[in-house]
Amino acid sequence: MRSLYDLSLRFKIPLWGSVLILVTAGSVGLALMFHAYDDLRQDVLISADSLGRTLSKTLFPVMLHDDVWHAYEIINAPFHSATPANPMQASALVLLNEQGRVYVSTQAYVYPVLADFGKLGPGYERLAKKLPGIRDHSSRNFELEGSNQIVVATPIAEGQERLGTLLIFYSKSVFVPRFLAIASRAGGITLLVLTILLPINWYWGRHLALPLMKLSSRMGEIGTHIPEPPDPAAYVHRDEVGELFVAFGKMVEALREGERMKDEMVRSQRLAAVGRLAVGIAHEVNNPLAGMLTAVDTLKQRPDIDPRVIKTVGLLERGLMQIRDTVQALLVDSRVVDRALAPNDIEDMRTLFQSHLLEKQLDLEWHSGLTQEIPLPATYVRQVVINLLLNAIQAAPGGGQIECRVEPEAEGLNIMVANTGALLTAEQMARLFEPFATAKEMGHGLGLWVTYQIVQQLRGSITAENGSDTVRFVVQLPLEHRP
């Protein structure tokens, strides 16, 4: 039995539904059949009562005149137009005299004339004892024990004078064909109802179970990976199952958000670690580098210096200058006091990049919503915009498009730079803001890293995303948390 309870809802719901329908149909059918049987029996008894009363009135004078043959003709009359299938058809009529002997009967071989009725059998004996008890003129019915016969007894009496008793025998087996007819009709109707209800039930059960099964299988995937959120068209109703779908969708969303947060965190930590390392090395290099450059400069000032040495010193100086540039690039320090960002700072950028744009024949869509100064360090914001534009110009193909939008908001400043270059791969996405992680032939790969560092120091956020045919970088810088 346990396996039955473990069945899939897909089968369990229709199965239980079917069982319920069968039980209901069966019990209603049975109840109707028993009702019909009872009705039939009642009808027979009523008919027998009326027959008994009619015959007893006619039989009284006949018995009084002791006319056996006439009495026989009277009780035999109901059999003249007898049809075997009529359940109202009595099986026998027996007329008893006051001594309990058969006066005459329609089945003389079973109930012979003058036979002692009580001695015809044990059931008859008990019945015979009850007959004198019927005092009024109404009929009474009895079950003849030891047989399948119902007996309706009517006294033959006028006033206080009683001459005998009329017994009308009905065989219950006559009920059977009629009862079977009713039963088969009820069964037919039940089957008809079942043929309509069962497919509806089956369809309904599946309709209810299938979305649950989908949910269940999606939930099973959670152990290995985050499943796809359910198709909202799979279940459109707003009942508990619908709510389950919504809740599952929300749960999948939350799981994905968590996953994204986790990835973000890991990347931030990695970037922070790399940043700290880079800045640390830069500082360590920077201090002796300043000394070395001063020493080289001093050496160059010397009048007695050999021209060959000067050549070497120049070589050294250029090398040290390159190291300093790189180190400077790594050393992002926004903590310096800076002036506020003005609309002109942004407009300058447009002018600054005209030549670059012309070079690659790029189309620039420019929008700046900045109309007044806002409290953000101008140098760093300019640096961020420059870096992003440089990056976009490098990424965009010749004749491509670049879009730059700067929008001040109540909470801060939004910068968006997009280009129509190749979309970023997942791997590129993952390492985008790391130093020297460039995929480009040009540049040292520090531009985005520096941008990231600046944004981090300004407590803002930077994201890169692939559009339908553009790559967009979005920077959000808050106003309140000034460094």
């Binding site: 043959w69 035999n76 012979p112």
Partner: protein, 288 residues
């Protein structure tokens, strides 16, 4: 809706018919009243209608059939002059002849003979009874107290055998016709009966399923066939006319067809002597 006038005519006609029916026999000029009894198979109403129509045509008179189940009633009607003719059992004939109430009109014959017997019958299930003596203490059905074969004969037989017919059977009852007596035995209500052989043989032809439930135990000696009698009030002219019509029946196709349905070959004048045996039995049983 039927118009009122039609209704009125209907009621007038109904009234006229009622008046005609209520008028005594003597008052009507030419209706001949014929009493019929269960001496033959008298419940074939279609046949009786055809026979009456035949008689009317042949006699040129109106004929009324008066059917009574009990011989006594027909005998009383003869005595009262309400019947002109009657087809009765031989016992009533002998009885009425003795009182000079009737004279013999015609005797039916079958297979050339105007004789019949009494059959002692028992239910077909009773295979052991060979004699009426074995029916002692049983239930016995008599046809009619004025029936020869259905009453006088078995009682006479018992009397001859030294039994008291009044005490021999445990219970007896009258069925008021031979046919009913046959049915009573067939249904098992009576364990024996004595019936008219002509009725039994006729019934065996038209309703063999009834006679099949009975078995003939013994056959009595032959008696004169139940005769057609004429009331003493009937004129010689009417007597002759009626006898003529009856005796002529087997000489025309229509009459022959009716006779066949009556299970007869024809009627002949007959001699009162053939009823001598019945008269002797009647005298032996009390001279009634």
């Amino acid at each position: 809706m039927i118009p009122h006038r039609v209704f009125n005519i209907f009621w007038m006609l109904a009234f006229a018919l009622l008046m005609a029916a209520a008028t005594p026999a003597g008052a009507r000029d030419s209706a001949i009243r014929v009493g019929l009894t269960p001496a033959f198979l008298n419940d074939q109403y279609g046949l009786l209608d055809d026979w009456r129509a035949y008689l009317e045509r042949k006699l040129g008179r109106r004929v009324e059939f008066v059917e009574r189940d009990r011989y006594r009633e027909t005998m009383d009607l003869l005595g009262l002059g309400k019947l002109d003719f009657a087809w009765v059992c031989d016992y009533p004939y002998v009885y009425l002849k003795k009182q000079k109430q009737v004279r013999l009109l015609a005797v039916p014959y079958s297979r050339g003979r105007s004789l019949y017997r009494a059959y002692l019958i028992v239910p077909a299930r009773d295979t052991h009874t060979r004699s009426i003596l074995q029916l002692k203490g049983k239930v016995f059905a008599y046809a009619d107290p004025y029936s020869n074969s259905g009453y006088l004969t078995p009682r006479y037989q018992l009397h001859e055998m030294g039994e008291d017919p009044d005490k021999f059977f445990k219970r007896t009852f009258f069925t008021w016709s031979h046919r009913n007596a046959i049915e009573a035995v067939a249904a098992g209500i009576a364990q024996g009966a004595s019936v008219d052989s002509f009725v039994w043989d006729s019934l065996a032809k038209v309703r063999p399923q009834i006679t099949a439930h009975t078995r003939i135990v013994s056959r009595s000696p032959e008696y004169g066939f139940p005769p057609f009698v004429a009331n003493r009030t009937v004129s010689d002219q009417d007597f002759a006319a009626m006898r003529e019509v009856l005796l002529d029946m087997n000489h025309n196709a229509e009459g022959v067809a009716l006779l066949r349905r009556l299970n007869l070959d024809g009627f002949k004048e007959g001699k009162p002597g053939i009823y001598q045996a019945v008269a002797e039995m009647m005298n032996a049983m009390g001279g009634r």
